[in-house]
C-alpha cells in the first residue's frame, strides 16, 4: 500500500547527495547518495567499517560532512549539531540503549523538551501534560499497558527500546534512524518491535534501518542500500533482489590481495590450545574448540552471539566464565586471569582498543613493553635503552607511523595503534595469541599489513585465535572457523569457507527461509 507512495512522483523526504567525509586524511565516505520517501523503510547494509555509522552520525549531527549536501523535503538542510538534526525532524536511535533507568517512563520520553508551565513566574515541569503526552505516544506504539509514571528500569529491555522510539517521536520526528535495534532482543520481542515499525511506516514516518540480520531487512524494508568501503555499491528494491545478490554487494567477491595466501591444511599439527565446555551466563553455552600450532582459527558471529566474550573468557578476563578444561600445550591452566595467562604464554589483543588495549597518555615504548616488562628488567631496574631499541625494531618491522618510541600512543592513528597492540606480544614468546576484532577502525593499508603479519606469525609456529564480527575477515584469514549464535556453535567450517557461508551459519533465524528459497530455485 505504501509502495505507491515511494514510487509516486512526489519527491523524496530525505535526499543525501554526494556526501563525502574524511578523518585525518583517510576518506571514509566517498560521494554517497541515497534517498528515502515518506513512509518508506530503507535498509542500510554494509560490513564493519563500510561507513554506515559515519553516514548516520552525519545525519544526526554528531559529525559534519566535508562535501555534498542533505536535502529534507527538497530544502537544503545544514546539520552541524544534534540540535540541528532534531529540528530537521531526524532522530537517531543508537545501538546501545540510552535510557535513564531511574526516571519515569514519561520523563524519559519528555527528556530534553519537558512541557513547562509557570507558577508565580517560576517555570515548573507540567507533569500532567508530560504524562498525557507519554500516554498518547505509548498508545501509538502499542504499549498502553505501561503507566507513564513507572520507573524506566523496571520495564523489560524490549519495552525500553520502544520507549526510546516514543522519545524520538515526541520531537515530531519524520526520519527515524535505527541502528541494530534488535541486537539485544529475543525473537518475540523483535517481532513486537517490527509491528511498531510497520505501524510507524503506515503513518508516513521515514525509517533508515541498519542491521546485520538480512532476515529482518528482507522482512521489513522497501529498499536496500549497500555501502562498502565508503561507497554505495548497490541499491535494490527488496522485492526484486535476493539475499545472495545483497551479500555479494556487501562483501564483494574481489578480496584481491588484501588477505595473504593460506598455508596447507595442518590437521596433523600439535594442538596448542583446547577449550572444553566454555560457558558464561547469558553469553556462551558449552563452547569447545582447539587451535593447532601454525593455525589461524576464526570465530565469527553477529552482535550478541557471544563472540564479544569468547576471546576474553579464554584469556581469563571474565571472572564469571567456567570451563571444563582449558589446556595450553597439554597443561590444564584453567581460567585463571590475565596475569597468569600472560605467564602461561597467551597473548590478547582487545577489540576496544582505546578502552582496553592502550594506556593512551603513555609512550609507544611503555605500551609496547608492558606485558613482558620482566624481560627488560635486570636487578629490579628497567633497561630503557633495550626497551627503546626493541620498540624501534618493531616500529620498523611493522612500519608503524610514529615520531618515535617516546610519542604518546594516543596521538597515533588507529591502524598504527593496533600494530603496537600486536607487537607488544611478539616481544615475548607466547604460544597462543587471541585477537579480538583485529582490524576494527583500521584503514585498508594497515589492515593488509596486519593480516600479513598474522599469517607470518602463524607460519612461524604461533597458534592464533581470531574473534571477529567481520565475516569477510574470518573467511579471508582463517584456516578453520567456528560460527556462534546465541552462545552456541552453529557451524564448524574449513579453509574454503566464504563470507556468505559464515553469514548464513550466523543467522539461524533465516535458516527456514533459505531452504524455501533453495527449493524454489
Amino acid at each position: 500500500m505504501t509502495d505507491e507512495r515511494t514510487e509516486g512522483s512526489r519527491n523524496p523526504r530525505l535526499q543525501i547527495a554526494n556526501v563525502t567525509k574524511a578523518f585525518a586524511g583517510v576518506t571514509v565516505l566517498k560521494n554517497v547518495s541515497l534517498s528515502a520517501h515518506a513512509g518508506e523503510i530503507v535498509a542500510l547494509l554494509g560490513a564493519n567499517g563500510a561507513g554506515k555509522s559515519t553516514l548516520m552520525k552525519i545525519l544526526s549531527g554528531v559529525y559534519t560532512l566535508d562535501g555534498g549536501q542533505i536535502r529534507i523535503d527538497d530544502k537544503i538542510t545544514t546539520i552541524t549539531t544534534p540540535q540541528d538534526a532534531i529540528a530537521a525532524g531526524i532522530r537517531l536511535m543508537p545501538q546501545e540503549l540510552s535510557v535513564h533507568p531511574d526516571l519515569s517512563v514519561a520523563e524519559n520520553i519528555a527528556l530534553g523538551s519537558m512541557p513547562k508551565r509557570r507558577f508565580a513566574g517560576i517555570p515548573m515541569i507540567d507533569r500532567p501534560a508530560m504524562d498525557w503526552q507519554a500516554e498518547v505516544l505509548l498508545k501509538r506504539l502499542r504499549l498502553d499497558h505501561v503507566a507513564p509514571g513507572r520507573r524506566m528500569g523496571s520495564l523489560p529491555l524490549s519495552e525500553q527500546r520502544i520507549v526510546e522510539i516514543a522519545r524520538a517521536l515526541s520531537g515530531k520526528a519524520q526520519i527515524l534512524i535505527m541502528d541494530e535495534p534488535t541486537a539485544s532482543l529475543g525473537e518475540a520481542d523483535a517481532d513486537n518491535l517490527f509491528a511498531v515499525i510497520e505501524a510507524l511506516k503506515a503513518e508516513g514516518v521515514t525509517i533508515i534501518y541498519i542491521s546485520h540480520y538480512l532476515d529482518e531487512v528482507f522482512r521489513l524494508s522497501d529498499r536496500i542500500v549497500v555501502l562498502r568501503d565508503g561507497e554505495v555499491r548497490g541499491q535494490f528494491k527488496t522485492g526484486e533482489t535476493s539475499r545472495d545478490e545483497v551479500l555479494t554487494a556487501m562483501l564483494g567477491s574481489d578480496l584481491g590481495d588484501l588477505y595473504p595466501a593460506k598455508s596447507a591444511a595442518r590437521s596433523d599439527a600439535k594442538i596448542v590450545l583446547s577449550v572444553e565446555g566454555l560457558s558464561l551466563a547469558g553469553w556462551l553455552d558449552g563452547v569447545s574448540l582447539s587451535v593447532r600450532r601454525g593455525e589461524v582459527f576464526g570465530v565469527f558471529g553477529l552482535i550478541g552471539s557471544g563472540t564479544e566474550k569468547i576471546g576474553r573468557a579464554i584469556y581469563g578476563a571474565e571472572p564469571a566464565a567456567r570451563a571444563k578444561a582449558v589446556r595450553l600445550n597439554d597443561i590444564d591452566i584453567g581460567l585463571s586471569g590475565p596475569r597468569k595467562s600472560v605467564r602461561a604464554g597467551i597473548g590478547f589483543v582487545a577489540a576496544e582498543r582505546k578502552r582496553q588495549g592502550l594506556i593512551g597518555n603513555l609512550s609507544v615504548r611503555t605500551n609496547t613493553t608492558l606485558p613482558y616488562l620482566s624481560l627488560f628488567t635486570q636487578s629490579g631496574v628497567v633497561d630503557q635503552k633495550r626497551e627503546d631499541a626493541r620498540t624501534r625494531d618493531w616500529i620498523k618491522t611493522l612500519r608503524v607511523k610514529t615520531s618515535g618510541p617516546d610519542q604518546e600512543i594516543r596521538l597515533l592513528s588507529g591502524g598504527n595503534q593496533q600494530k603496537i597492540c600486536l607487537a607488544r606480544w611478539l616481544l615475548g614468546s607466547p604460544s597462543f595469541l587471541i585477537l579480538e576484532e583485529p582490524t576494527r577502525g583500521v584503514d585498508l593499508g594497515a589492515r593488509r599489513e596486519i593480516y600479513a603479519e598474522i599469517r607470518r606469525l602463524a607460519e612461524a609456529g604461533l597458534a592464533i585465535l581470531i574473534v571477529s564480527s567481520d565475516a569477510e575477515e574470518v573467511a579471508g584469514l582463517a584456516d578453520r572457523s567456528l560460527v556462534l549464535e546465541d552462545g552456541k556453535v552453529t557451524a564448524e567450517l574449513g579453509q574454503d569457507a566464504t563470507a556468505t557461508d559464515l553469514m548464513r551459519a550466523a543467522e539461524p533465524r533465516s535458516a527456514s527461509r533459505d531452504t524455501n528459497e533453495l527449493e524454489k530455485a
Binding site: 590475565p338 582496553q356 594506556i359 608492558l370 628488567t377 631496574v381 628497567v382 592513528s413 584503514d443 585498508l444
Partner: protein
C-alpha cells in the same frame, strides 16, 4: 594504500612550526621547568620585598616547616598517579603523634612507640587499599570516611588536648641537623629521591603509571592493578605516620589536630606539581617544587605582615592559575 600514504603529504609548512612549539610544550619536563621558573620569580620577588627573606636561617625555616607536608605529598604523588587518592593521610599523621605520646606517657620506650605508629600507618594503608580495591568504593569517599574515623579517634584518645613530648633524642628528629641541614629536610629529600627512582626506573613504577592511565587495559595486559594500588595506599599511610612523628618531634608535643589542617596543602601541592587527578601523569619533582612554592609563599607573605587569611586567598589563586595554565599547555599541545 593510497589513502594512508596521502596523510604525511597533506600538512603544510605552518603545521611544521606548530609542531616544534607543541613538541617543546608537550615534553613531560616542560611543566616542571615552568614551575621552577615561577619559583625562581617568587624567590626574586620576596628577596626584593623583604630583607629578611633571603637568609640561610629563613630558608631553612621554610624547609623545616614544609618537610612533614612534603613527606605526605611525596607519597601522595605516586598514589594519585596510580589512580588513587588518600584524604586520610593527615589524620594518620595526627594519630601517629598521639600514639607515640600516649605510649610514652604509659612508660613505653619512645622508639617502640614510633615503631608502633609506623605499623599503624601501614595498617591504615591496608584498610584504605582494601576498601578501594576490594570493596570497589570510590577513593574519595573511602578515605574521607577513614579520615573522619582516625581524626576522631585521635581526639577521643587525647580528649582533644596536646600531649607534651620532651625527649631530646626524639626531638632531634624534628629539629636536629645533619651536615648543618635540618633532619626533616634530609628525610623529605631522601623520600623524594627514593620515590623518583622507583617511579622512573623500576617495573613497579611502570605499573603505577599504567594502572592510573588505564586500569582496565593494564589489567588485561597482566599488570597487577590491585596489588599496585594496595602498595601505594600502604606507602601513603606510612608517610602519614612518619610525618606525624616528625611533627610531634618538632613541636615537642603531639597535637591531635595539628596535621589535619594541612591536608588541602598536600593535595594542592600534588596538583600544582602537574600530577593529574585522573591518574597516569605526574612526577615527584613537580610536587617537590610545588611544596616549596607553597611554603615560600606562606613564609614570604608572613614576613611582609600579610594576614594569614589573605595567605589562604593567595594560595588558592596561585593554585587555580597554575592548574589553569597547565591545562592550556596541554591543550596547545594537541
Amino acid at each position: 594504500m593510497s589513502k594512508s600514504s596521502s596523510i604525511p603529504a597533506a600538512p603544510g609548512v605552518s603545521k611544521k612550526q606548530a609542531r616544534s612549539l607543541s613538541d617543546l610544550l608537550g615534553r613531560p619536563a616542560a611543566g616542571i621547568v615552568l614551575l621552577l621558573l615561577f619559583y625562581i620569580l617568587l624567590l626574586a620577588a620576596f628577596s626584593l620585598l623583604s630583607p629578611y627573606f633571603l637568609t640561610l636561617s629563613n630558608l631553612s625555616n621554610i624547609g623545616t616547616n614544609m618537610a612533614f607536608i612534603g613527606l605526605m605529598a611525596a607519597a601522595g604523588t605516586p598514589l594519585i598517579i596510580g589512580g588513587g587518592l588518600d584524604l586520610s593521610v593527615a589524620a594518620v599523621a595526627g594519630l601517629a603523634g598521639v600514639i607515640v605520646a600516649l605510649m610514652h606517657s604509659n612508660g613505653i620506650n619512645i622508639w617502640v612507640g614510633c615503631f608502633t605508629a609506623l605499623i599503624i600507618g601501614c595498617a591504615v594503608g591496608v584498610l584504605n587499599g582494601f576498601i578501594v580495591t576490594r570493596l570497589k568504593l570510590n577513593p574519595l569517599i573511602a578515605t574521607l570516611g577513614t579520615m573522619s574515623i582516625f581524626s576522631g579517634l585521635s581526639m577521643v584518645m587525647t580528649g582533644g588536648l596536646s600531649k607534651p613530648l620532651f625527649i631530646p633524642a626524639f626531638n632531634w628528629l624534628g629539629s636536629g641537623r645533619l651536615f648543618a641541614i635540618p633532619f626533616p629536610i634530609i628525610l623529605m629529600l631522601l623520600v623524594f629521591v627514593v620515590l623518583w627512582l622507583i617511579l622512573s626506573k623500576t617495573p613497579f613504577g611502570r605499573f603505577v603509571y599504567a594502572t592510573g592511565g588505564n586500569p582496565e587495559a593494564s589489567s588485561l595486559l597482566g599488570v597487577p592493578v590491585e596489588r599496585t594500588q594496595m602498595v601505594l595506599y600502604i606507602v601513603s599511610g606510612l608517610s602519614g605516620a612518619s610525618a606525624g612523628i616528625i611533627l610531634a618531634a618538632m613541636l615537642g608535643a603531639a597535637a591531635p589536630n595539628a596535621a589535619g589542617q594541612h591536608l588541602l596543602t598536600i593535595i594542592a601541592a600534588i596538583i600544582l606539581g602537574g600530577t593529574s587527578l585522573f591518574g597516569g601523569r605526574g612526577s615527584v619533582w613537580g610536587t617537590l617544587i610545588a611544596v616549596l612554592i607553597l611554603g615560600t609563599l606562606n613564609n614570604g607573605l608572613t614576613l611582609m605582615n600579610v594576614s594569614s587569611f589573605w595567605q589562604d586567598v593567595t594560595r588558592g589563586v596561585v593554585l587555580l592559575m597554575a592548574v589553569g595554565l597547565d591545562q592550556l599547555r596541554v591543550r596547545l599541545q594537541s
